[in-house]
């Protein structure tokens, strides 16, 4: 049944995984997301739903265990943070190539390198523009609340299976670590009927099922890539998610995703109190990116300030969307620093109003 609880982001997402009928979780500890596997181990989902939970020897092993389980048609997932996600990139590329569904949660910390354990949004490029090798795209959802994070577990698995492709929930250390009120959805059954493409043992009279991303003939491999690209265009057509707040009368615009959008919303309200008509656009799906929404709004406003906890990553997509219709500037704190609403407002007044 539905249930309201006060929960830490990481733990709420872990609970959502059990309730979404996930079949398997393979993970490896890394701050700031270790509560995820700790919660699962404590909950013993093997007993609750039959879900398998295993602590792997590495991030690489974890994503490859996900690959194996996903190849059997199972709802498999893993979680990590920046340095661990970098290690998983090989496996993610293989899964995109072999067209396997899975859910990956990145609780982003500051990089590059070992960086810091404080929250950041500096893995935007890695998540949205590739990260692994080859021409592939991953559906990327960026929740701004613990509630959205929970709901996106269910949605993420649905999208992964609808398009047979990896889906990433791009969190950050803030959402992963903070406690919020959350409404948990009811326990869903684990899906028993394996899909046709799953390696579950050869069926009599049918050819064996093969899961692979290898195609040695270039002509054939181009066809595989064309099929993938057609799928990505379909995703772009159907799955764009975006929130626009106070944009109807907006003369200026903020653009931010995830945690940064929550802080920016406060800055927007402060600006409105001063009589400045400013709105906030929050891309929720980062791939597919809401270019059309940005393009429309860009025609209406005198300037856009993109606010990110990085040195300027999503701003490139906002500029692509704005397509020269208006000025787009970036304000960011990074390396684990979180901007305050005052700072954002000051940057807005300096870079957009005064600029």
């Amino acid at each position: 049944m539905k249930e309201i609880r006060l929960m830490k982001g990481n733990e709420a997402v872990a609970e959502a995984a059990i309730r979404a009928g996930a079949d398997a979780f393979f993970g490896y500890p890394i701050t700031p997301q270790s509560e995820f596997i700790e919660y699962l181990m404590a909950e013993n989902p093997e007993e609750r739903t039959g879900m398998v939970v295993l602590q792997a020897e590495s991030e690489i092993a974890a994503i490859n265990m996900v690959y194996g389980a996903a190849g059997c048609g199972k709802r498999a997932m893993t979680t990590s943070s920046g340095p661990g996600i970098s290690l998983k990139m090989e496996g993610i590329s293989y899964m995109a190539g072999a067209e396997l569904p899975c859910l990956i949660v990145n609780v982003v910390r500051g990089g590059p390198g070992l960086g810091t354990i404080q929250p950041s949004q500096s893995d935007y490029f890695q998540a949205v523009k590739g990260g692994g090798h080859g021409d592939y795209k991953m559906i990327v959802l960026a929740p701004a609340t613990v509630q959205e994070s929970v709901d996106f577990v269910k949605k993420g698995f649905d999208l992964a299976f609808k398009y047979r492709t990896p889906v990433m929930i791009l969190l950050d250390g803030i959402i992963g670590q903070m406690m919020e009120k959350v409404e948990l959805f009811e326990q869903m059954p684990r899906i028993k009927e394996p899909p046709e493409w799953a390696t579950i043992g050869k069926k009599q009279g049918k050819p064996p099922v093969v899961v692979t991303s290898l195609q040695l003939q270039a002509e054939e491999h181009e066809k595989v890539n064309l099929r993938l690209q057609a799928k990505y265009r379909e995703i772009e057509k159907n799955e764009v998610m975006c929130e626009a707040i106070h944009c109807e009368d907006a003369e200026y615009l903020f653009a931010a995703f995830g945690s940064a959008a929550r802080i920016t919303r406060k800055a927007m309200e402060m600006a409105r109190e001063k009589g400045i008509k400013v709105g906030l656009v929050r891309p929720i799906s980062l791939f597919p990116f809401p270019y059309q929404v940005i393009n429309q709004l860009a025609g209406q406003v005198k300037g856009i300030l993109t606010v990110e906890m990085n040195a300027g990553q999503m701003v490139e997509d906002i500029r692509l969307g704005a397509c020269g219709k208006t000025r787009v500037e970036h304000f960011g704190r990074f390396g684990g620093m979180v901007p305050s609403p005052d700072e954002i407002l000051a940057a807005f007044e300096q870079k957009i109003i005064g600029g």
Partner: protein, 253 residues
């Protein structure tokens, strides 16, 4: 008149249906073809074709799924034991095997190999050890013998600067998770029969969930070693077997 002699009583050999009719891409004399056949025959004899999932590596046997008539997954380089873990954990009643070369299993996949074995994952690892990277053109492998020449050890493997060959089977045999570790070869009919018995035993142990089984096949690589198949087998007997002695390394109690 050929059809007249094809009577049941005249047939002395027929290919197992567990192997496809695809022409194998392996070099003449290579041990992969024989090992594939033995493995396929074992799966057929045990009647587990519809319950078996194989994992192909990166290396010469990357296309193993072309030849086995069972469901198969192709894994990233070295990751086959992790992929097999994922498969076996969500389908514990199925039979799972990985098929890996020495570079895949004992270099880039060392961590995945050791940890899968240490957890005692209930699957079979078939390990082809020919002391060289075959597919990429004969580079030094973790199993290349001291002094052995390869394209990346052109003056022979110098153990001071390049390290010693890794006896991965002896290494994993020390792990309590291991059920059965054996080293075999397939270069003579007698050896092939022994190897087949070992593979069969490994599947039987898997049914009993006794832990990980690893069957190493010391094999040749006539292309990589730059020898004829006959020379390669002779060289293998004279050089590989003294370093990698054949026989059981760990057997279940």
């Amino acid at each position: 008149m050929a059809e007249n002699i094809i009577k049941a009583e005249n047939i002395v050999f027929s290919k197992t249906e567990l192997l496809s009719d695809r022409v194998m891409h392996y070099c003449p004399g290579c041990g992969h073809g024989t090992t594939h056949r033995l493995l396929a025959e074992v799966i057929e004899e045990l009647g587990i074709q519809e319950e078996t999932i194989g994992v192909a590596p990166v290396g010469c046997s990357v296309l193993a799924y072309y030849y086995f008539n069972v469901d198969m997954t192709q894994a990233a380089h070295g990751r086959a034991p992790a992929v097999a873990t994922g498969i076996k954990r969500v389908m514990p009643e199925k039979y799972v095997f990985t098929y890996q070369g020495d570079g895949d299993l004992a270099a880039i996949g060392t961590a995945e190999t050791i940890h899968a074995c240490n957890r005692g994952e209930n699957f079979l690892i078939v390990f082809i050890n020919n002391g060289i990277y075959g597919m990429t053109g004969g580079q030094m492998a973790p199993t290349t013998l001291p002094g052995m020449k390869s394209s990346t050890s052109p003056r022979g493997r110098d153990i001071v600067s390049m390290g010693n060959p890794l006896k991965i089977s002896e290494l994993v045999a020390t792990l309590p998770g291991m059920c059965y570790v054996t080293r075999q070869s397939v270069h003579t009919p007698v050896n092939a029969r022994k190897a087949k018995r070992a593979l069969k035993k490994a599947f039987e142990y898997q049914k009993l969930k006794k832990g990980t089984c690893l069957v190493e096949i010391v094999s040749n690589c006539s292309s990589g070693w730059k020898m004829t198949p006959v020379q390669a087998n002779k060289w293998m007997e004279e050089n590989m077997f003294p370093f990698y002695p054949l026989g059981d390394i760990k057997v279940p109690e």
